[in-house]
């Protein structure tokens, strides 16, 4: 890896455009801190809660799609390109299907593919990252080289050539996205493993003769769960966006119903140029909303686990009461009023 990682960044912008927390040093300095603390804090975080609510809503839509959809999404139920009405809440597609029903059923494939790819890339990334960071030396050199090569090859053209040679279908898309997407989590988790490996609890596990994979999976992995989670959410964002892009290009299965194919058909049926905004706006909004929700949760994780950001946030909270008197000067403020409570203490 020596090749790329000259300075360890506090936060790196992933190729997916998401800022993923990459603490320069392990965020946990204590001997051993299990995953619990940050999770509890996450539940109390407003951004995370908001993101979580959005995601729950989408998950519910995906699960209860048959009950929620007013029509069969594949059936031609009306005239093409009908604007939204009481009959068709979101209008009809270019070939006369109910847009709302398509959107609801589309949630299943889009979210499903996103989650499958997210989990798979994270698992692969974690294994590669753990192995590289734990064994170091040759193993690391090789795995890091592989990871960095995968990272530097531009994603979309790679996805296109991979997908174009395979029969179009759900699993093709999923597989291609996994092949092109595991490298980022691997890189992030490798650097985390490298720093956790130096901690005392790993040395003592080594001394007590535990096996390598046992140490990796039982000692190191549980101590970086927040980063694993953030990496997975980032991967899901990537998967949903990339899947939609592939389908939009016509490399998906056009007869399956997903947000990407909805956009594909909107483009193909010139929905845009006949003024049928309802054929593409809702699907795009759904993609954005899901991505935003995951990004919010990630932002919250970052705020909780990155010590510098956390103290910055706490400072802002503590100073909020005095905001008006503080002004924009960077010199240490003189706030005689803030010391008033002192009298009571003395």
């Amino acid at each position: 890896m020596s090749a790329t990682n000259q300075t360890t960044a506090a936060v790196e912008v992933s190729p997916v455009g998401q800022a993923t927390p990459v603490p320069a040093e392990a965020a946990f300095t204590g001997p051993r801190r299990r995953s619990g603390a940050w999770l509890t804090q996450l539940l109390g975080n407003r951004k995370a809660a908001f993101g979580g609510l959005i995601l729950l809503a989408f998950a519910a839509v995906a699960i209860f799609a048959p009950a929620l959809a007013p029509y069969d999404p594949t059936e031609f139920v009306g005239r093409p390109h009908r604007p939204p009405s009481s009959e068709f809440r979101l209008g009809t597609t270019g070939s006369g299907q109910d847009m709302l029903s398509q959107l609801i059923y589309g949630t299943r494939i889009s979210l499903g593919a996103g989650v499958i790819v997210g989990v798979a890339t994270t698992v692969i990334g974690a294994l590669v990252g753990l192995a590289a960071g734990y064994f170091r030396g040759r193993v690391d050199d090789f795995l890091s080289l592989l990871t960095n090569v995968m990272l530097i090859i531009p994603g979309l053209p790679l996805l296109v050539v991979l997908a174009a040679f395979l029969p179009a279908g759900f699993w093709t898309t999923v597989m291609v996205l996994i092949v092109a997407g595991w490298a980022w989590p691997a890189r992030v988790l490798r650097s985390q493993t490298l720093s956790l490996r130096e901690k005392d609890f790993v040395s003592s596990a080594l001394v007590s003769g535990e096996g390598s994979w046992r140490i990796m999976l039982r000692e190191i992995l549980p101590n970086m769960m927040s980063i694993v989670a953030a990496g997975m959410f980032g991967a899901i964002i990537y998967a949903i966006g990339a899947q939609a892009a592939l389908e939009f290009l016509g490399l998906g299965n056009p007869s399956a119903i997903s947000w990407g194919t909805i956009l594909y058909w909107a483009g193909n049926n010139a929905g845009l140029l006949v003024g049928a905004w309802w054929t593409f706006v809702p699907a795009g909004l759904c993609i954005a909303l899901v991505a935003f929700a995951f990004a919010l949760v990630n932002y919250a994780i970052d705020e909780i686990t990155n010590p510098r950001l956390r103290s910055q946030r706490e400072t802002n909270l503590a100073l909020r009461r005095h905001r008006r008197q503080l002004g924009v000067s960077r010199a240490t403020p003189v706030l005689r009023s803030a010391g008033q409570h002192r009298a009571a203490g003395d």
């Binding site: 994603g155 979309l156 140029l273 510098r308």
Partner: protein, 325 residues
């Protein structure tokens, strides 16, 4: 220099890896692309086109390693095969014509989004509690969640189609001959506004957040405190002391994000029918033009590698610690 040599070696490995992938992909994928193409394009495609494909994908009887060698030699000479959709134009020539426009679009949107994003990040971290830091991050994060091509579609629909403020498609007014004339350049700029603006808007958030976070860490460093103690002007502390150091880790990330940004721009091109590589990629997919697809993949990869090398050179200029070796 050591650093640059190491990076150069890495890029060579990456280039070799993508070449090799490109070679083996059609040979090991299930089915024969030429036959598939023939089946799908029945009647629309000439026999000689099929023959070209056959040759390109090694239905020859030479052993694999010999084909591989010949393939590498061909690539090295700039021979990427013959395009099917633009038959009989060579892939290399097709790609070259699109390259200019992609460079224009990516160049403009990348430079502007990086510049604006980083400046906003610096200011957000510098002026705590200011407008920039409280309102912009969540807003840009939301905008950044939209797929590039979707935002492009919406912009096209409203700004061009409904309200007619911007042209609907292409890179310059039809019928205008490319020339270094004011009229032509103005037309190019006019056509560039919307595609560039959408990709700038989507990308800015990522740059800003990245810069803001490293700035916050950098501002806590002793050398920034000392710079303030020295009574230097705020601008000098902010840029020469804080931002210059905060930039370094972001520069490394920049190289990697490049591929993503370019991918997004390719999709924007498709929406605006902007005649760059993205539009060609769509043509290739629609016509099952495998040689063109692969040529595009290679050329874009090489361009990204080259751009990364430029970033490395910049890094060396900015960080004396690397310069020393």
């Amino acid at each position: 220099m050591n650093f640059i040599l190491r990076r150069l070696g890495f890029y060579l490995v990456a280039a070799w890896a993508s070449l090799t992938l490109n070679f083996f992909l059609p040979r090991f994928m299930p089915g024969d692309p030429a036959t598939a193409l023939f089946a799908r394009m029945q009647g629309r495609i000439q026999a000689e086109q099929i023959q070209t494909m056959r040759e390109a994908y090694g239905v020859s009887d030479d052993p694999l390693w010999q084909q591989y060698g010949a393939y590498l030699v061909n690539i090295f000479r700039g021979d990427f095969g013959v395009s099917i959709s633009y038959f009989p134009t060579a892939v290399f020539d097709v790609v070259r014509s699109g390259f200019v426009w992609t460079i224009v679009l990516v160049g403009v949107s990348l430079v502007l989004s990086v510049l604006i994003g980083n400046i906003l990040g610096v200011m957000g971290a510098w002026k705590r509690n200011g407008f920039v830091d409280s309102v912009l991050p969540p807003l840009l994060m939301f905008v950044g969640s939209f797929p590039f091509f979707f935002l492009a579609s919406v912009a096209l629909f409203f700004l061009s189609f409904e309200w007619g403020w911007f042209p609907l498609r292409h890179a310059y007014t039809d019928g205008l001959a490319p020339a270094w004339s004011w009229e032509f350049i103005r037309s190019v700029l006019y056509h560039l506004v919307l595609p560039a603006a959408t990709s700038i808007v989507v990308a800015i958030g990522g740059w800003m957040l990245g810069m803001r976070n490293t700035m916050i860490s950098t501002l806590a460093e002793d050398y920034v405190t000392m710079a303030e103690a020295k009574g230097l002007s705020q601008r000098r502390v902010m840029f020469n002391y804080a931002a210059r150091n905060a930039l370094l880790p972001n520069l490394t990330a920049f190289g990697m994000a490049l591929g993503f940004v370019i991918s997004g721009n390719l999709l924007v091109e498709i929406v605006f029918a902007y005649p760059g590589l993205g539009y060609q990629l769509l043509t290739a997919v629609n016509n099952l033009d495998y040689p063109l697809m692969q040529g595009l993949f290679l050329m874009i990869t090489f361009a990204v590698l080259a751009a990364n090398l430029v970033v490395d050179l910049l890094y060396v200029r900015l960080d004396p610690r690397v310069r020393a070796g």
